[in-house]
C-alpha cells in the first residue's frame, strides 16, 4: 500500500465517520408532546432597507455589515401547551438577544460592549414563563438578535412547553457546549504541563516537548468554547485559533517525523507556509477565507500524513491512525458547519476535538513508553541470559583451572618420582651393567634381567613425560631397542605415518600400549629368527610384523595359559585393559600382530 492509497483510505474513513457524527448529532425535532417548537414567524431588519418578511427557523444571516440586528416575531396559542409550569428554551443563537413575550421582557437589555456583546453565544437560553404573562390565544414572542461585524446572526430553534423537560434539555446542551469545553481546557493544560515536566526530567527527549506543544495548541483552541473569554474579557482572535489548529497538526507530524521516521519535510514546510500566510492575512485584513484556508490545508495534510502512517503498519500505529481519523472527521464536520453550512452548527463538534486531540497525544506517548518498556524488558532478559552464560563460563574456567592445577601437581609429583627413579634406580642399573662389563662377568641371565629392568624403567619414564604422543613413545622405544636388534642382526622397517590417538590418552594407557609393543618386539628378537621388524601405525591401530619363522598361535596360547599367564595372554590382558583388540596371525613366513582400538572421543 503506497501513501496515495493510504490517503484515499484515510479520507474515505474520515468522511464516513463525519457523516455518522452528523446523523447522530443532528437536533431532531422534539417528539415531546408537552412542548411545541416555533418555526414560522416574521423577521424585520431595522438596520437594513429590507422589508419585513416571513421566516422559517433555523435563521442565519451571514454578511459583513458593521452591526447586525434582526427582530423575529412568532405567535402561539396557550391551548397548545400543557397546563403545567411553562418555559421557553432556545438551544443556540448568536450572539446576543432580548426576548419578550406579550411585551414582558425575559432578558436584560442588549449590551453592545465587551464582554457582554456575546453573552448568549455558545450556550442555551432558558426561562420560566409566568402563567400571568400568557393569554389563551395569539401570544406574541419577540426576539431581537444582535451580532458584531465579524459574527453571524443566528437563531436555531425556539421550544416552549413543560418547564422540567426543557430544563433538562437546556442543561444537557449547556454541559455539552460549555462543560465539555472547560473539561477539555483543564485536560489540555494538565497534559501540556505534564509533558513539559516529563521533557525536563526525561533527558530532554524532544518527543515530549513536541507533544507538550501540541497540547498547548489544543489549549488555545479549546479556550474559545469555554466562554472564559467573556468572563475575563479576552480578545476574540480568529488568528490564534487558526494558528492553534495548524500548530496541533504541525507538532504531531514533527513527532511522527522523529519517532516513526516518516520523513514528512514537505508537509511540514506546507504547514509552516500556511502559518506564515495566516499571520500575514491577520496583520493586513481579517478574513474568513484565512480560516477556510487553514482548515483546507490542515485537512489535506492530515489526510496525506495519515495515509502515509497507515502504510507503516504495526498495531499501535494503526490505533493512532484510527483515533486521528476520528479527530479528522470531527475537524471536517466542524469546519464544514462553521464555514459552509452554518445551519449544521446546532451542536457543533469542534469543542470535543481538543479532548480527542489530548487522548491521541497521551495514547501515542503511552504506546511509545510501553514499547520502550518492552524493549528494555527484552534487553534485561537478554542481559540476564548473558550474565548466566558468562557465569557458567566462569565456573567452567574455574573448574578447568582447578583441573589444570591438580593435573600439574600430579605431573610435578610424577616428574619428581621419575627423576628419582632415573637418577637412583636407573643409575644403579647402568652401574651394575658397567660393573659386569668391567669385571667380564658373563652371567647372561643376570645381564638380561638388568637390561630388561633398564628397558622397562625407560619405558615408564618415557610414558610419563607430558608430551607423550604414541608415535614419539614408539620412536623412543625404537632408540632403546635398536642396540638389541643390532646384536641379533635385525633391522626396523619403520612405518609411522599418522599419530595414533588412543581412546583415553594418558601416561598409564601409554605405558600399557608400550609394554605390548616392547614385548611384541622382544618376542620377535628372541624367537622369530627374522631379519626385519615392521612397525606401522594409523590413527586407530598399531601393527608389528616380522619375516621370521612364525609360530602356532593357538598352541602358544594354550601352553602359556597352563604356565600361568605370561607372554601372549598377558598381552591380551593389557590390550583389553586399554580398550583395544589384539589379533595375532602367524604362518611359516612371518607373524603379524595387530592392535586396534576405537576412535578417540572428541575432546570435551
Amino acid at each position: 500500500m503506497n501513501w496515495i492509497t493510504g490517503s484515499i483510505l484515510t479520507a474515505l474513513t474520515a468522511g464516513l465517520i463525519a457523516l455518522l457524527l452528523q446523523l447522530t448529532q443532528a437536533d431532531l425535532p422534539s417528539s415531546d408532546a408537552d412542548t411545541i417548537s416555533l418555526s414560522q414567524g416574521i423577521v424585520c431588519r431595522p438596520d437594513t432597507a429590507q422589508p419585513c418578511a416571513p421566516v422559517t427557523l433555523p435563521y442565519f444571516v451571514i454578511d459583513n455589515e458593521n452591526s447586525k440586528k434582526a427582530t423575529l416575531t412568532f405567535s402561539f396559542d396557550r391551548t397548545d401547551l400543557p397546563s403545567d409550569l411553562t418555559a421557553v428554551y432556545l438551544p443556540r443563537l448568536s450572539d446576543n438577544m432580548s426576548l419578550t413575550i406579550n411585551g414582558t421582557s425575559f432578558t436584560s437589555r442588549i449590551h453592545d460592549t465587551a464582554p457582554y456583546y456575546r453573552s448568549l453565544w455558545n450556550r442555551p437560553f432558558y426561562a420560566i414563563i409566568p402563567d400571568s404573562v400568557l393569554q389563551d390565544y395569539n401570544n406574541t414572542l419577540n426576539i431581537e438578535l444582535s451580532a458584531t461585524q465579524e459574527r453571524n446572526l443566528a437563531l436555531v430553534a425556539i421550544h416552549i412547553g413543560e418547564a422540567d423537560a426543557l430544563l433538562l434539555r437546556s442543561e444537557l446542551m449547556h454541559l455539552y457546549r460549555v462543560g465539555f469545553s472547560r473539561f477539555a481546557l483543564g485536560l489540555t493544560i494538565a497534559t501540556a504541563i505534564s509533558l513539559a515536566i516529563f521533557w525536563l526530567f526525561r533527558q530532554r527527549k524532544p518527543q515530549f516537548l513536541l507533544m507538550a506543544a501540541a497540547a498547548a495548541c489544543a489549549t488555545v483552541y479549546s479556550l474559545q468554547w469555554t466562554r472564559l473569554d467573556q468572563i475575563f474579557d479576552l480578545p476574540d482572535t480568529t488568528t490564534a485559533r487558526d494558528l492553534a489548529v495548524l500548530g496541533q497538526i504541525y507538532f504531531i507530524l514533527r513527532y511522527a517525523d522523529m519517532s516513526l521516521s516518516m520523513r514528512l519535510p514537505v508537509l511540514l514546510r506546507a504547514i509552516e507556509a500556511t502559518a506564515v500566510a495566516t499571520v500575514f492575512f491577520a496583520l493586513t485584513s481579517q478574513d474568513w477565507n484565512v480560516t477556510l484556508l487553514v482548515y483546507a490545508v490542515t485537512l489535506l495534510i492530515s489526510i496525506i500524513a495519515l495515509g502515509k502512517l497507515v502504510t507503516i503498519g504495526g498495531l499501535w500505529t494503526r490505533a493512532f491512525w484510527l483515533v486521528s481519523v476520528v479527530l479528522l472527521a470531527v475537524l471536517t464536520i466542524s469546519g464544514y458547519a462553521r464555514l459552509i453550512d452554518p445551519t449544521m452548527a446546532l451542536y457543533g463538534f469542534a469543542q470535543i476535538s481538543p479532548m480527542l486531540m489530548t487522548f491521541t497525544i497521551i495514547g501515542v506517548l503511552l504506546a511509545e513508553l510501553a514499547y520502550a518498556q518492552r524493549r528494555s524488558d527484552a534487553m534485561t532478559r537478554a542481559l540476564s541470559v548473558q550474565v548466566a552464560e558468562k557465569t557458567a563460563e566462569l565456573a567452567k574456567s574455574y573448574r578447568q583451572m582447578e583441573r589444570f592445577t591438580r593435573d600439574r601437581a600430579v605431573a610435578d609429583e610424577r616428574q619428581r618420582i621419575m627423576l628419582d627413579l632415573h637418577d637412583g634406580v636407573g643409575g644403579q642399573l647402568v652401574n651394575a651393567l658397567a660393573y659386569m662389563e668391567s669385571t667380564q662377568t658373563t652371567d647372561l641371565t643376570l645381564r638380561d634381567a638388568l637390561e630388561e629392568a633398564l628397558r622397562d624403567l625407560s619405558l615408564m619414564i618415557d610414558s610419563m613425560t607430558p608430551s607423550g604422543d604414541v608415535s614419539v613413545l614408539l620412536g623412543m622405544l625404537r632408540g632403546r631397542l635398536e642396540p638389541l636388534l643390532a646384536q641379533h642382526g635385525l633391522v626396523f622397517n619403520w612405518q609411522i605415518e599418522d599419530d595414533p590417538v588412543m581412546p583415553d590418552p594418558g601416561p598409564s594407557q601409554n605405558l600399557r600400549l608400550m609394554r605390548i609393543a616392547q614385548e611384541a618386539i622382544t618376542n620377535v628378537v628372541k624367537h622369530a629368527n627374522a631379519t626385519s621388524i615392521t612397525v606401522a601405525t594409523d590413527r586407530t591401530s598399531l601393527m608389528i610384523s616380522d619375516d621370521g619363522v612364525g609360530f602356532d598361535v593357538h598352541a602358544a596360547l594354550a601352553r602359556a595359559g597352563q604356565a600361568g599367564g605370561f607372554g601372549l595372554p598377558g598381552m591380551q590382558r593389557r590390550a583389553k585393559s586399554i580398550g583395544a583388540q589384539l589379533d595375532i596371525r602367524s604362518c611359516g613366513n612371518g607373524t603379524e600382530l595387530i592392535l586396534t582400538w576405537p576412535t578417540a572421543h572428541p575432546a570435551p
Binding site: F404, D407, R408, A411, D412, Q415, L419, H422, D423, G426, G427, Q428, L429, V430, N431, A432, L433, A434, Y435, E437, S438, L454, L457, S458, I461, D462, T465, P466, S467, D469, S471, V472, L473, L474, G475, M476, L477, R478, G479, P483, W494, I496, D499
Partner: protein, 217 residues
Amino acid sequence: MSDSDISSVLIVEDRIHTADRLCAAVNAHPKLTVIGEAHLVERGLELLQQLRPRLLLTDLGLPDGSGVDLIRAASAADWDCDSLVVSVFGDEHRVISAIRAGARGYILKSAPSMDIGESMQSIIEGGSPMSPQIARFLLNLVGPERPDGMENADIGLTQREQEVLQAVARGYRRQEIADRLSISVGTVGNHVNAIYRKLEVSSNIEAVIQATRMGLL
C-alpha cells in the same frame, strides 16, 4: 698422529663402575684421552680449572648438585671447552636443560662401549643426536596448535627444520629421514645442529620453556 689431534676429556660421574666404563670407552678411542675423573660437582669444577680439558663429559644428577653447573662453567671457560651430557635415558627434561646451559649434546650411559667414543667424536664434529621426545618438545615450541591457547614461542625454525623434527619425533633414523625428504644424511645432521643452535642462542628460551612447560602440564 700429533698431540694436538687428541682431545683431553674430563669425566664427572658419581657411580664408580659407570665412570670406569666411560673412562675405558673414551680412552679406547684413538683421538680421545681422559685427563681427569670426578665424582662430585665441587671436585669437577676444581679439575675443570686445573686441567683445562677440551671436553667435559658429565652426569647431571650428582650427589652434591647438578651437572648443569659444570656445563655452565665449561661454557664460561676462557679456553675452548665443549660439554657433553651422559644420560641414563636421554629424556627430554634432562637433555633440554643441559643444552640450554651450553651442552653440545648427550650420550647414553647404556650405549655399547665401542659406540661411546665415536658418539663423542661426532658430537664434537657437529653431529648431535636427537631423541624423538626432544624433537616433539621442540615442535611443541613452534607448532601451530597449543592446547591452552597460549602464544607460540618462535625460535625461528624453517619449514624444512620442522619437517626434520617431525620425522625425528616419529622415530625415524637419519638415513630414513634423508630418504624420505630426498636429502643427504649430512644435510639432516646439519638441520639437527642448526635446530640445537637456535635453541641454545634463543635469548628468551628460559621464558619459552617455562611457558611451554606450563602449557604442557
